[in-house]
């Protein structure tokens, strides 16, 4: 399922973020607080690769997607797309061009398509805006082509349907088709299969891998499900409480997780084919909402391996093995540690 790509060197990465940060101000006039949704996230996405961004609620993964789609402006930090900083895309022309190169696919198949129009509407609008050189007939032909690529056949017929006449899986494919029509380099997929039935998910995951292989598109696959990340992604980035905990080749990270949080996630993921001792160690905690945080590792309250340093110094990502990084003081020391599972 994977292609053999490695994280690209800085100069050639398709997308690179540099200490991307986004805070939200919450509370009323009397008590202003800052919610740290994303803190100093530096990640890269290369050409023709699927990168999975995994985390639980409050990890910041959805916020990252919206930062990359320019729905939010970063509080600090910068994102570079094909070497150029996003903050430099100020004119309408630049922003339009970027939205065509890095479109987003949304999570909810029932809310992400306008119910009043036929499903051809979104695709044709996207084509009109982003590829104005095409004539009306050419636009329609292109709409048919992308529908076929995502497996919605006969394309001619499906294009004429209304959203409520399609199943959830088909609607998500429409979302991908809309993105494809703009000839993107990177598709930002925000939990695209979470709301679909299990038997349908695999079909879409297979389609995503196919898009990478045949269309040369990179995909940022945001998910909370490690198993699907393993199935489809080349690289995996695990986030916790707004920071990157671990990142590296998907198979490697899941086979040798170095960060205790990754180990916890793995141990909690159900796998019917493996026996499970019901008495297995269970952690009761939940990811925190990070409000006005103090320095230190955000996982320290739930980590059985926490040392003094963890309470004082926020860990940075450091290399474990080539390409595999983790932000953990204990893991840094070199020895392989097992916290959970």
């Amino acid at each position: 399922m994977t292609s053999t790509s490695e994280p690209s060197a800085n100069g050639t990465a398709l997308l690179r973020t540099d200490k991307l940060t986004r805070h939200f101000r919450i509370g009323n006039a009397l008590s202003q607080q800052t919610l740290h949704a994303v803190d100093e996230v530096s990640l890269t996405i290369g050409e023709r690769e699927i990168v999975a961004l995994a985390g639980e609620s409050g990890s910041g993964k959805s916020t990252i997607a919206r930062l990359l789609a320019k729905i939010y402006k970063p509080t600090s930090g910068e994102t570079y797309f094909q070497g150029k900083p996003l903050s430099g895309f100020k004119s309408r022309k630049d922003r339009l061009r970027y939205s065509g190169l890095a479109p987003m696919v949304f999570q909810d198949p029932f809310a992400s398509i306008n119910p009043v129009f036929r499903v051809s509407h979104g695709v044709l609008r996207g084509l009109k805006l982003h590829r104005p050189e095409l004539s009306r007939d050419e636009r329609y032909a292109e709409a048919q082509r992308v529908f076929e690529v995502v497996g919605l056949t006969p394309a001619d017929e499906v294009l004429q349907r209304f959203p409520h006449e399609l199943s959830g899986g088909q609607r998500q494919r429409v979302g991908f088709a809309q993105a494809l029509a703009m000839r993107p380099k990177l598709i930002l997929a925000d939990e695209p299969v979470s709301m679909l039935d299990v038997s349908i998910r695999v079909g879409l995951l297979n389609m995503m891998a196919e898009l990478r292989d045949s269309q040369g598109v990179s995909i940022l696959y945001i998910t909370h499900d490690l198993a699907s990340a393993r199935y489809v992604a080349d690289r995996l980035i695990v986030m916790y409480a707004g920071r990157v905990a671990e990142s590296g080749p998907a198979e490697e990270v899941l086979a040798n997780p170095r960060h205790p949080y990754t180990q916890l996630l793995l141990s909690a993921a159900p796998d019917p084919r493996a026996p499970l001792g019901v008495g297995a160690e269970t952690d009761r905690g939940e990811p925190p909402k990070v409000i006005n945080p103090t320095p230190g590792c955000r996982f320290r309250w739930r980590c059985p391996l926490a040392i003094d340093k963890c309470h004082q110094v926020t860990p940075e990502l450091s290399q474990m093995t080539p390409g595999h990084q983790a932000a953990c003081h204990v893991a840094e020391e070199g020895a392989e540690v097992k916290a959970f599972g």
């Binding site: 789609a69 922003r95 398509i113 017929e157 199943s167 899986g169 809309q178």
Partner: protein
Amino acid sequence: MAMLPVSGPTTAPPAGLPDQALPVPAAGRRGQSWSRLFRAVRSNRKATVGTALLIIFILLALFPGVIAHDSPTATIYPRSLGPSTAHLLGTTALGQDIFAQAVYGTQQVLIIAFGVGLFSTGVAVLIGVAAAYLGGAWDGVLNLITDVLLVIPLFPLLIVIATYVQNAGTAVLVVVLTLTGWSYTARQLRAQALSLRKRDFLEAARVRGERRMYIVVVEIIPTMTSLIVASFLTNALYAVLFGSSLQFIGLGDPNSVSWGTMLYWAENNEALQTGQYLWAIVPGALIALLGAAFALLNYAFDEIGNPALRPVRRIRVKRAG
């Protein structure tokens, strides 16, 4: 929230094999919306009654001469007659044929109703939806204007304006009623637009690169058709009732032919006290009927657009013994 009923359960489309190839529905695709609307009207009792009433009134307004053979303004007939074959509803104290007046009066009332309905709703949609989507300072300013108009007591305001204008003809009535009436439905539309603002398909349109005005006009407003139709009906109803009331208290043009002016003259001539009941009752009943037609249609479209409001069917369970 499309105005037209959904064709089936939202999660299970017609069965097909495989995931991609689904059978084309039998009805032709173009005429499908109209036939669906027709079916919806037929199946909903409120809609049927309301539509029937409205159609009758529209026919009366379009072809008054066909139904009423006398002239509505001529004062040549014998006065204060009761109903007879020559004058179906009798005559007024001024020698006019009541039936003719009632029929011809329909025209003005409907013009006011539809005119106010259309313009009010138009203004309400523009202001309400723009306020919701543009947000920020725009929302603040537009909201302020809406709220001020809402707070001012309606009827006194109408009276003040109409008195100032004096002898308000149809056009003036339409303008006055529109200016005072749009704020109520603007509020409702703004509330709905606000709730739609966060919907994914709007974010998708933004991410696609659409301009804000385009999103408001093309993406948001069509999904609000239910509420917009309801606003139109509400405003039309409001126009019928308040327009006739203004005419009744003498602020309209007393020489025009309308139900409201009929009531005005009937009141002036003490129709009820002198036993000329039909003169007062007939226009009143017609106003009530037209108002009821709009109200019924309003409920009906609510139910058609929002299946949760429909009367719940019950399954009959056969129990033996």
